[in-house]
Amino acid sequence: MLCAQKQPEGQLLGLVVGVPAIVNVDDGIVVALSALQDWSNVPLGAMLGGEFKCHVVVENDTNLAAQGEYYRGAAQGEKDFVFITIGEGVGAGIFVGGSLHRGSQWSAGEIGYLRVPNISREHPTIHKYGKLEKLLGAPGILKSWRATKGPGTRPKANHAADVFDLAAAGNAQARQLLKQRATILADIVLDLALILNPSVILLGGEVGNHPLLQQEVESLLQGSEFAVVRVRLGALGSSAVLWGAICTALEPAVLGLLQAKSPAS
């Protein structure tokens, strides 16, 4: 890309990387990654820093997506919000008081392991997707769709979003499947709303970013007795992580403007 833009490598000031993993942002270490078992305590920041002579930040991809929505998307001006992504897996990026909440061991928002009603109990290990994640993620939805029996022929769906599109077009079985997933998602949203009392909860990701799912979840929550929260779709779609990475790269600390020691003096 630098070649294509005819820019010398020395002009590169910052590099921000999003990974689907628990990341120690201070040290640039990928602590654990649920899909790839080989990744455990990988010093990705140091590795990339050796390759590119610039400031490197490694961050959880969902946290970056939340940053993106905060700076450029549907969460502009919202200091307390949650971005839930549902794609292959499920995760949340949490903003408290205008900045990301990462928790005491960098794993805040790992909601794929939540124990909610309607899901059988299973003890997850860190390298395995949570039970909830298995159901709610794209593979789980496609699996359920393929197992669906009913009157007439079942239309083909290559992506989880296709199933939701079929629901929107009036397919009864697809509608039922969506309703069931929305029930689970509503319980997750309720937990997040009660614990954090955010101004809005955004849905994103290949599965989550669907208007019908959002409508269904919001109508399920209307009856809840406490903490009625706005549920909206993210505005940046699949670009949210990239936007978050760019906004992070443009922060003064990354650009080297806020260094502990001034190199000049």
Binding site: V96, S104, S107, V116, P117, H123, D191, I195, N197, S224
Partner: protein, 405 residues
């Protein structure tokens, strides 16, 4: 290099210097909160300030009378070097715990040492004016008892049971003190005592207490979980309380976990989680067992007594304990997944039961990572709120000192 002199006038720079001293003074005060220091050098190691800046901050605080330096001698550098501590008798503060059935008041000095306590029943005191009147009575009593002159009172702070708007100092709504809607409690206290007042939700106040002097001393990420008749959480994230957009963060009594009723509760009724493992929910479970076959059971037990009975080996009580611990473990696990908090401090009448803590911790131990939260019982017990309120009042005083240069 940019020359600051060309950008700022000398007046601006003097102002900047004063501001820096104020900030440093706050830092020094916060460090002295934890302990006394035997010398300036020892204090400097903890504050990380340069000798000149530390010296400016200390003389600022000494001039105010907030800090005292004892046994001053002359060190080699000619700089004074005696032991440093907060002047406990600089002034006094009042902490209030306005509960559903009791009003408790404590008077403390600048180091937070409680000099006197007073309490009264609030069962027949429903209106805010009547509560203020009771507070007035209690404070007068405490001032007499401790021989503290009224003008030495510097601030007052209260924990209130309900949704509390900390910015405007208003109790938005409460379920215990009937009729409290949008009560401007902070300004009521300020006009009653003519001193600065602070207000916070009772569970968060207790969390402040535990973070200052209790089981979560200095822990930046933890959850104080109060389980009594209701259930609520006070959450510390990165050393700060989470309040939420409508001041309702931590209302976890309404959470849904496996084993709680699926149907949404009516507005104003206990939430799903608290109807299962709140004090009344546990007694309901027990009463159902009392209706069943077998040796007659004592129907009039509290949740804590039922758990003690389970601990003593009673099988039916054990089934209640087991079910409660399982549901509590789910709730704790879910909260810790969302926040990645590794420490939970349990408080409240039910939450402080040791058998409940032990059984819940056993359930949590069965889960694998990503999180394995540790449960500990509040070390301040029912004083957590009073201690937290004292801390809030002291914060108010310290902030005021910083502002009035």
């Amino acid at each position: 290099m940019v020359k600051t002199s060309s950008v700022l006038s000398s007046t601006q720079r003097a102002k900047q210097g004063r501001l820096l001293t104020q900030i440093d003074a706050c830092e020094v005060l916060q460090t002295l909160r934890e302990q006394d220091f035997e010398s300036r050098a020892a204090l400097r190691r903890d504050c990380g300030l340069s000798p000149a800046r530390l010296s400016a901050a200390i003389s600022f605080l000494e001039k105010k009378g907030l800090v005292e330096e004892l046994g001053q001698g002359n060190s080699a550098a000619g700089r004074r070097s005696g032991s440093l501590r907060i002047n406990a008798r600089y002034g006094y503060v009042i902490g209030l715990d306005i509960g559903g059935s009791n009003l408790r008041i404590a008077l403390a000095d600048m180091k937070g040492t409680v000099l006197g306590k007073w309490s009264a029943s609030t069962k027949r005191t429903s209106s805010p004016d009547m509560v203020i009147e009771q507070v007035r009575k209690g404070v007068t009593f405490l001032l007499q008892q401790t021989s503290v002159p009224r003008r030495s009172l510097l601030a007052i702070a209260a924990g209130a049971p309900g949704i509390t708007d900390v910015d405007s100092g208003v109790v938005v709504a409460t379920s215990y003190l009937r009729g409290w809607r949008n009560v401007p409690l902070r300004s009521l206290l300020e006009s009653a005592f003519h001193i600065p007042a602070a207000l916070e939700n009772d569970v968060r106040v207790a969390a402040i207490g535990e973070n200052w002097l209790g089981a979560a001393r200095g822990v930046p990420n933890f959850v104080f979980l109060a389980i009594g008749t209701g259930i609520a959480a006070g959450v510390f994230a990165n050393g700060k309380l989470i309040h939420g957009i409508d001041w309702t963060a931590g209302e976890v009594g309404y959470m849904h976990v496996p084993g709680t009723p699926e149907k949404a509760a009516e507005r104003g009724a206990p939430g799903s989680l608290e109807s299962t493992i709140g004090g009344d929910g546990i007694r309901q479970q027990w009463l159902r067992l009392c209706e069943g076959p077998g040796v007659p059971l004592n129907r009039d037990l509290t949740a804590t007594e039922i758990f003690e009975l389970a601990h003593a080996g009673d099988m039916r009580a054990a089934s209640v304990l087991n079910r409660s611990a399982q549901v509590l473990a789910y709730a704790v696990y879910n909260i810790s997944l969302v926040l990645n908090s590794s420490l939970f401090v349990l408080g409240g009448g039910v939450g402080m039961s040791v058998p409940l803590r032990d059984a819940t911790q056993r359930f949590l131990q069965q889960y694998n990572e990503p999180v394995r939260p540790k449960l500990i019982i509040s070390s301040l017990g029912q004083d957590a709120q009073l201690i937290g309120a004292i801390r809030l009042a002291l914060n108010k005083v310290e902030a005021g000192v910083g502002l009035k240069l």
